[in-house]
Amino acid sequence: MLHLLKIDLKKLTNYRTFWVVCGIYFISLSFITASGMEVLKFAADKIEDFGGAINIRRVPLYHFPDVWQNLIWVAGFFKFVLGVMVIISVTNEFAYRTVRQNVIDGLSRWEFLKSKILTNAVLAATSTVLLFVIALITGLIYSPEIHFTELIDDVEFFPAYFLQLFGYLSFALLLSIFINRSGLTIIVLMVARGLELFFIHKVVNVDALDKFFPLESMEALITLPFQRYVFMEVLDHPLISMVIIASFWVFMFNYFAYLKLKKSDI
C-alpha cells in the first residue's frame, strides 16, 4: 500500500505543476481561513456601518467551538483547486500513455487506481490536519476564555470534512478516468454541482430526496453555520445518515472508476 503511494508521490513531487497548484491551494486556504477576523475588523474600521446592526467585533466567529465548523465550511470552497490537481495528475497518465506503460511494467490496473486513491486520501488528510491546526491556533488567539469541553465540542466535523474532501477528489478521479482529457474533465467538474442542483430543484423537486444525490450528500455533511449569529438554530454536528449516504457515494465513485479502468483497452 505504502509502496503504491510512494510511486504516485514520486511522479507528482517531480512535477512542477503539482507544487504550483498545491501551493495555490494550501496557501490560499490557510491565508483566508486564518485572516477572516482581521479582515472583518479592518472592514469595520474603514467602512461606516459595516455589518449593519451587529457589532462585527463581538461576533464569536473564531471562538471555540464555533471556529471549527465556521472554518471547515469556508474551506469547502477551495476543494475545486485540489480537484483540478487530481484531474491533471490522472489525465496526464492518459495523455502521456504512462498508464499503459505502468501496466506493462507490472502494475495491475487496480494497483494503478489504488495509487491514485491513496494520493487523494493523503491530500484530503493534509487539508484536514492543516485546517485543524489553523482553527486551533486562531481559536486560542480569539477565544476570550478557553474551556476544554468547548474546545473539543464539534471536532467531529473534521472526519466529516475529510470524507467530504476525499469524496470530491474521488469524483474528480472518476471523471478523469472516464473522460481522459484534462480540459474537458475540469469543465465537467466545474459544472457538475450546478447541473445536480438544477436536477434536484427543477426536475425532481422532492425535498426528501435531495440528500440522496451524490454531490449534495457530501455538501450536506457540513451545514452552513452562520445563521446562528442571527439567532437561528443550526445543525452543529454531522448527521450519521448523511455520513452513510456520502460514504456510499464515495465508494461508488471509486468502484465505477475501477470498473471502467478494468474494462478499457489502455
Binding site: 514520486k10 496526464n92 502521456y96 501496466v103 506493462i104 511494467d105 507490472g106 478499457s264
Partner: protein, 297 residues
C-alpha cells in the same frame, strides 16, 4: 526445453474488425523470436494482450506455464510501439519510478543506463532526448528487472542509420546474454540476422511459423549469362533444370533438388559454352516473407 510463452486461440475484436484471429503460438526459452507482418496485421495488438493492456475477446495464453498476472509481467521487459515516459522527469527519475513498479533495485538503474549508453544524460529531462535516446531509455527500462524475456516492438522505427546501428548492437548484446527475445519488426533483414525463429501474421491470422534456418532450403535458383544464341534451349536440356525464366539480363534457372550451380557449369562447359556470369540466388527472408503473404491472399 522450457516453454516461455504459449498462446491458444487468442482473439481480439475492435467492434466489427477482427484484429487478431485465433492465434496459436509457442515461444521456447532462449529463442530470438521474430514477429513479422505488414502494418495493421495485429502484431502490436497481440503484444498488447500479452502485456495486459488490451483485453482479449477470446482465447488464452500463459507465461512460463502460469496464468498471466501483473506479477508475471514484472519479469518481462517490454517496449511496445513508442517509448513512453513522463516527459517532465529526467531519465534517471523515470527509471526510478519504473524500478519501483517492477521491484528492481536502485543499482540496476546504473547498470542499464550503462548498457544503453545514457549515463551522461541521465539527469536531463526526458523531453530533451532525441528519438534514439528515448528508444534506448525504453530498452534500458525494459532491462531493469533483469527479465527472462524481452519484448521489442519495432525498436528501430523512425531512427536514423546511426540510431539503428546502436539499437542493433544493444539487441545483439542482450541476445548473447541468453535471454528470450520477441522482436516485432519490419526489417526482415534484421530479423534474419538476429532471430532464430519467426512467425508471420497477416490480417490477424498466423500464416507461417518456423525456424529462420529453414528459410532458403529447398530448390535453388541460378543466374546464368553466356554468349550463345540458343542458351535457353541448351539450359532446358540439362537434367537438373526445372524451369528457365528470362526477364532482362541473366537467365534464371530453377534447379531440381540435388543439383547445384557447379553441375550446371560443368554441363555447359562440356557443351563448349563458357559462362560469364553464374550466381546462386540465396532465398532471403524478405523474398520468403513476400511469397508467404502472396500465397495466403
Amino acid at each position: 526445453m522450457e516453454t516461455v510463452l504459449s498462446i491458444k486461440g487468442l482473439t481480439k475484436n475492435f467492434g466489427a474488425l477482427r484484429a487478431v484471429n485465433q492465434l496459436n503460438l509457442e515461444v521456447q526459452a532462449g529463442q530470438v523470436f521474430g514477429m513479422l507482418g505488414p502494418n495493421g496485421s495485429g502484431k502490436t495488438t497481440t503484444l498488447g494482450m500479452l502485456m495486459g493492456v488490451v483485453n482479449p475477446t477470446g482465447g488464452s495464453f500463459t507465461w512460463f506455464g502460469q496464468e498471466p498476472t501483473h506479477l508475471v509481467r514484472r519479469n518481462i521487459g517490454a517496449v511496445l510501439e513508442h517509448p513512453i515516459f513522463y516527459p517532465y522527469m529526467s531519465g534517471q527519475m523515470n527509471l526510478e519510478v519504473n524500478a519501483m513498479i517492477k521491484g528492481a533495485s536502485k543499482e540496476s538503474i546504473e547498470k542499464v543506463l550503462d548498457v544503453v549508453g545514457l549515463t551522461e544524460r541521465r539527469n536531463d529531462k526526458y523531453r530533451t532526448y532525441s528519438l534514439g535516446m528515448k528508444q534506448r531509455l525504453a530498452i534500458g527500462s525494459a532491462l531493469l528487472n533483469d527479465p527472462k524475456v524481452l519484448i521489442l516492438d519495432e525498436p528501430t522505427n523512425g531512427l536514423d542509420p546511426m540510431g539503428i546501428a546502436e539499437i542493433r548492437e544493444i539487441i545483439k548484446r542482450i541476445a548473447a546474454d541468453n535471454k528470450t527475445i520477441i522482436l516485432a519488426s519490419h526489417l526482415l533483414d534484421e530479423v534474419q540476422r538476429v532471430c532464430s525463429h519467426f512467425a508471420v501474421l497477416r490480417k490477424g491470422s498466423l500464416v507461417h511459423s518456423g525456424p529462420v534456418g529453414d528459410v532458403g532450403r529447398g530448390e535453388e535458383t541460378v543466374e546464368v549469362i553466356a554468349f550463345h544464341d540458343d542458351l535457353n534451349h541448351i539450359l532446358m536440356q540439362f537434367d537438373g533444370t526445372m524451369s528457365v525464366k528470362r526477364t532482362i539480363g541473366p537467365f534464371e534457372v530453377k534447379m531440381r533438388e540435388g543439383f547445384t550451380a557447379g553441375d550446371l557449369n560443368k554441363f555447359l562447359f562440356d557443351k563448349g559454352i563458357v559462362v560469364t556470369h553464374l550466381i546462386t540466388q540465396k532465398k532471403s527472408l524478405e523474398k520468403q516473407f513476400l511469397e508467404i503473404l502472396a500465397e495466403t491472399k
